[in-house]
Symmetry: C2
Subunit: 369 residues, 2 copies
Amino acid sequence: MAGSATITASDVLELSEPLPLDGGQQLEGVRIAYEAYGQLNAARTNAIFVAHATTGDQHLASPHPITGKPGWWDRMVGPGKPIDTDRFYVLCANVIGGCMGSTGPSSLALDGKPYAMRFPVITVRDMVRAHVALLEALDIRTLHAIVGGSMGGMQALSLAANWPHIPERVLAIASTATMAAQNIAFQEVGRQAIMADPEWQGGDYYGTGRAPDSGLAVARMAAHITYLSEDSLTEKFGRRLQDREAKSFGFDADFEVESYLRHQGLAFTTRFDANSYLYITRAMSYFDLEEEQGGKLAEAFARTAAKFCVVSFDTDWLYPTQQSRKLVHVLSAAGAAVSFVELSAPFGHDSFLLDVPALDRVVTGFLSQ
Amino acid sequence: MAGSATITASDVLELSEPLPLDGGQQLEGVRIAYEAYGQLNAARTNAIFVAHATTGDQHLASPHPITGKPGWWDRMVGPGKPIDTDRFYVLCANVIGGCMGSTGPSSLALDGKPYAMRFPVITVRDMVRAHVALLEALDIRTLHAIVGGSMGGMQALSLAANWPHIPERVLAIASTATMAAQNIAFQEVGRQAIMADPEWQGGDYYGTGRAPDSGLAVARMAAHITYLSEDSLTEKFGRRLQDREAKSFGFDADFEVESYLRHQGLAFTTRFDANSYLYITRAMSYFDLEEEQGGKLAEAFARTAAKFCVVSFDTDWLYPTQQSRKLVHVLSAAGAAVSFVELSAPFGHDSFLLDVPALDRVVTGFLSQ
């Protein structure tokens, strides 16, 4: 999806200063596309930052400009909803490296050509550094809360560890402080699928009228399975056939689950840039908060007065409860105020995005503490 | 890996009759490549058939002709080993659809050209039908046992349900009577990765000097993750870097687990044919013994006097214990003599291939019953 950076109607901030990166480089002229909902109060103390997951974006509670679908957390964010825009000023920004308006590999570099693979490899902390610059530009010194699921949770934890005075509350859902080997492995498969596609062209596919859609679709299909629970796949599809009475004895999508996955893969290519997928998954595989803090994660968390809430789902095998529990132990060791709940929900990792009323109650309660 | 069908030194049987297939077609001139270990007794009653898994072959306990590695179950099969070749005549045949000498998509059709995608879609029962033809040709009327893990277990169950008088013992390890939606989904990703590779050329890559190695490698990488447990990946690799002191901030294989997966993907392409991968995984996704038996699986099993042993592994999330347990309930309902054990082993689905002494004891015990 080359050039999508121009399709957003979100607000865009252009940073006046270069953004330093963990890799040692600086990124010039960084643009951050964001959306805001609700009103900032006079004291500027009611802001909540929602950090998005791997393939999310700033369209938290507004229709997606390409798909036309409701915002990805529309059920959670709005007037009277758990993240209540009648009470809070809710911000969501596209991560750098992304493709929905924030600077990423599809953006133009200083030479007027897309960065492509000249874009520097970034980290989750780099994403958060850009968000902090956005908060500064908006003159927001503290956040009532930072909230995020999956990679959004990693950003929430990174903010607390590195900018301890900003968040008053940190809500990390279906997340981890350290990307595990299995997750690194699945993401490597996705990147290899993209880079194996000849249409990837070493990343220089922008403006060629071609793009590694096949590779990106395969990457998405593989990832999508990991977002769901085995039971939810069985419940949703089982072995039902797709629009046919009998198996075709061919290689069409005979089964509903096959058809569904193909659709998911294809649809993804209409809204996401393959190089962004490489960079964002790379950032996630690099995510190891303990290593980043010199092995002293508890110390890092000891610097913040934030309250923490950690949520996992019993059917999430991608970020299983044990990873959340490990995080909770570290937070407790740091003397942080932390609450932890494992919710029962059938949808696997994707539970944080779906209809789980118990999560709504946890979010509502934690934000009111 | 085009043309590998010629590289085997195994015995090859050519069937004199066409092989009828579940899809309604017949396969002419079927060749079955097999290996045999030990001596058949005078009464011809001491044969054990070992059925191989998805990407296995007949090189059960002899070095693989391409990789030079020991047979895939060398640890289990041999003199004095659990499947004791001093006592038993042990047979293993490459499945039809495969690429190690049995007739498959890389074989020549009657017109002298490789079948490629003209090869008919086969089922697990078709594979077993070919094995039964082999047994008939060898004048073996009964098997002391049929033993298999994963797809090998499916073949074992299929033999018992469809040729109830042949096996006296059926040992199904890390297997299922019905492929679940999640497994169908992962296999669809693998097939899509292959078919998305332009070098696949609609399957007609034989003799072109090109092959969909990139797609096949991606398919293998994704599948390989599913064969291992999360804990074994963490134990084996964790977040260790590959031959470097620090992250490269690039897209090389920084992590050992990335390097390992890339190697697994690449190595696989030297020994396996991409079209065979399509056909064999298709057969597996079609595997539903209950549907095949008209919803009357218990009745199917009621026709056999075989003893059954079902084994699962506690860390196998691809064929989890609940699937084995379901099978055991059906067998019990059929009045079959069935024993069931869930073994504790750290390696995930691959446990059946690896050093699990408890499995050795189960195999030894069951074959002596």
